[in-house]
Every structure is written in structure tokens, then in C-alpha cells.
Subunit: 271 residues, 2 copies
Amino acid sequence: MFKEHAIMNGKIVKVEDAVVNIAYREVQFSFSAYESISVVNGRAIFLEDHITRLFNSCVGIKLRHPFRRSEIKKSIIDLINVDKIDKATMRILIIGGNDAKLFITYTDKISYPDSYYQDGVLVTTYEGERLFPKFKTSNLLLSYIALEDARSRGAFEAILVNRDGYLLEGTRSNFYGFKNNKLYTAANEFVLEGITRTRILEASEQLGIEVVMRAPLLKEIREKKFDEVFISSTSMAAMPIKAIDDVGFDTNFSRTLSLMKIVREKEQFDS
Amino acid sequence: MFKEHAIMNGKIVKVEDAVVNIAYREVQFSFSAYESISVVNGRAIFLEDHITRLFNSCVGIKLRHPFRRSEIKKSIIDLINVDKIDKATMRILIIGGNDAKLFITYTDKISYPDSYYQDGVLVTTYEGERLFPKFKTSNLLLSYIALEDARSRGAFEAILVNRDGYLLEGTRSNFYGFKNNKLYTAANEFVLEGITRTRILEASEQLGIEVVMRAPLLKEIREKKFDEVFISSTSMAAMPIKAIDDVGFDTNFSRTLSLMKIVREKEQFDS
């Protein structure tokens, strides 16, 4: 894989030319929306869903742009073809303003060692609320700082805790917990409706797991009311959690891994 | 004035070359801090204070960078000299990451017609809280959207109202109100400590105005408990407010304009 090129406004450019001028007001104000997409076997997974969500995010923050679904799809295929991409994590970015801009770039596909799925990962909690949680915007400073904080403590992800003590979502993931064999996760209006989250909820239905659309409370975590917790994202599918801060979970993650397997199969089906 | 150049990491570059690559993670996450500075008669006003606050913002968000006060001051003088700048609004931006970057750019000096000061401006209110309010970061989506909302309703500025109903600050200004001849404004811990705000508070002391460090409540505004309100910023100094949403103020703005005059004199003294 060369990572030689990127897309700028529908045109293939050298990746070093995928630049924005910092005198541009919408760059200064982070007035932009984005999506992260997995490419597997040279195909962008769940692409229609990602473009739909990208456009929703733009509408949500009143970012007007001239880019069309068909154009974005063609650009992605162009980029995959020119760099002969097999696997990658791709990023579509729309920056607003009178002269709105579209960029598509990619990196090595983000993936995690098997040991993460066997042993679970450590996560921390961080007090903070995403602005416009339903939209995926570049207003990402909270996520950046919460994740840096997690990493500085040896953790894999930070879960954001809102003013009422609910664990709504991670900095780059959705969050779930099992309590009395029911799966708890935040109601749609409070979090980003993850593309993978939708698959997790479908998979839960397939497995006959009852879902309660209410986020776990930090208080409940500390009181050990939840016996298995996990996060989900495009690159993680379902990732089991070994401990939240200093609260460990004594489980073999069987329910999480069953969900993970089904989500991975759905990806195969789409690719 | 040519606006031909900018500074990038201490070097003078053509302004069209003041660019960042959008594949850079810290650009994607808006992990950066900035300052806006007035240049008058070829001199950057209150420059020491602005650099101090810029460095404070960087410390606040744990943005490590190699840039030194003396270097930034030299770069500003270089830029003023190369483009023979007399008046301008200048912007210093530090973007974080392993390869931290410093940019200095400028625009025509932001200034407002005399009629704004005579008649006052219309402002709207917008529910929302700045993340890390003590730091001036590029996490500006809330400010962008609140200001767009204000402009779409013919207003000059939006005042952000927090979860408890306090009018803390504008999207690019601090906010103040007179009640029983005392000047009310948010306590330092809840807002950006404006460079001009500090001058306003000093000027209030000079004029014998008692200051109460507590933000006006929206409820109090609606109940007409405040009889004169204004905003302040580097480019506005003190700007009188004609109306907040549909609540008008029947005043000749004499107190606001007295404060404005003193602040403008302080600027002259610094330039």
C-alpha cells in the first residue's frame, strides 16, 4: 500500500497536497464533519450508511456543501484503484464555508491484537459532554484530551461521563453493559448513532438479548451492578472491557464475543 | 497593506503557503490554541498579555510546543516589517502534536462603525457552554454556530447561556450588565479572561464603579433588572447593547462609553 494519494474535491492529488490554508475561517473554527470507514478487500464497508450519516452531520450543523453521494462514492473507488488499496481506514472530511471542501484520506487499517479480545481492554472515565452528540464533527478537542488522559494511565479508551453520571459513549466508540442479562446502552438522542452500534443492536435481537436504551451509571459500575461491559466502533467491532478505572469485571466476555462475531460476519457480507 | 505573507514556525512564507495537511491528527482533532491581537501604528497591542494567555491555553490543554516568547515577538515584528503593516487584526495559532506548528496570519483590522457605539448593537442568546472556558482553543464549533444563528436573525453577537441560565460570555466577547449601578460579569473561573476584560475591570475601578463577579441571569434580563449591558473584546473595546433577543434597554450607554474611552486610551498608551 502506498498511501500516495488523497481526494480533494473529487480530484486525485498527492497526499502531501491535501492541505487547507489556516487563514480560512472554517478551518480556524473547525466547521466540518467527517466519517471513518473501513476498507476491506478493496471495498468500503457500510459506505451508504456512512455517507448518509456524513450528510446528516452536515445538515445538523447547517454546513452547506455541493457534494453528492454518487461523487463521493466514485472518489472512493478512484482512490482505492489508484493506490491499489486492499485494507485501510479511510476518512471523509467536509469543511464548510462559501468554498466548501471535500477530502478523502486513508491510513493503515486500524486493527487490534487478538489478545485485546481475549483479555479485554482497560478503559478510564472522563467527565465531559460532546457538543451536538448526534453529529460527527471536527469539534474533537474533548475526545483528544480524554483519550490522551486514558493513554497516560495505560488505558485503551476513555468513556465520557455526563453531568448526571451516565456513561454515554467513548471518545471513538459506543458503550454497553450487561445487567441481569439485559444489554444497557444510551438512548439514541444522547450519542452518535454508530454504524457498528446499529449492527450490535441487530445482533442482540438475533441472539434474543433484551436491550434497554438507557446508559449505565458510573454509580452502578462502582456498585458492580454490571457484570460485562464493552465498546464498539468501526475498527473494534465489539471490544470487551477488562476494567473501568479500578473496577474489574470477572467474565469470559462470552456475550460480547458472540456479538463481535456476528458484526464481523455482517461486514464480510457487505464487502 | 498587502497581506502577502504569514509566519510559519518562525519563517516568513507567502500566505498561500500557510497550510496544514489534513491527514495530520492534531489538525483533525482541532488540538490547537490561538490569540487575536490588534496591530495599531505598526505595533501589536498588549502583546505580552496575549502571549502569556496563549501559553496558558497550551498548558491548559497539555499542548507541548517548542515556541518561545522571544521568537514569537520577533516573528510578529518580522511580519509587520515585511508587509509594512500599519493596522491589522493578527492571529497566532499553535497546533499541537509531535511536530507542533506555529502560524501567524493577519486580516484587515476588525473595526465597527461609530453608529454601533451610538445606537448599541442587537445580540441574541444561545444555550451552550464552551469546553474549557478558561482557554482559547480551536474547539470553536459552538461559537461558529451560535454566531451564525445570531447573524441569521440580524444580530451582531450571540451570548452563551449556561445550564443554570447565566449569560457568561459572547462567542467572541465578554459580557457585562449594570444593575443598581453595580457592574455584573461572570467570575473568572467560568469564562475566558479577556485581555480587554481586564482593562474594563481596571477602568471600572478608576471610575468608582463597584464590580460584582457574578454573571447576569437570563431571567433577570427578562425581568428588566439590568438597565445597561455591553460586551467587550480586543476589536470592540466596550460595545453597547441595544437589545438582547426582544428585551430592549432604554439608556444612552453613558457608563459603557466611559469605560470604552478609557480602554481605548490604554491601547494608545501601549502602542
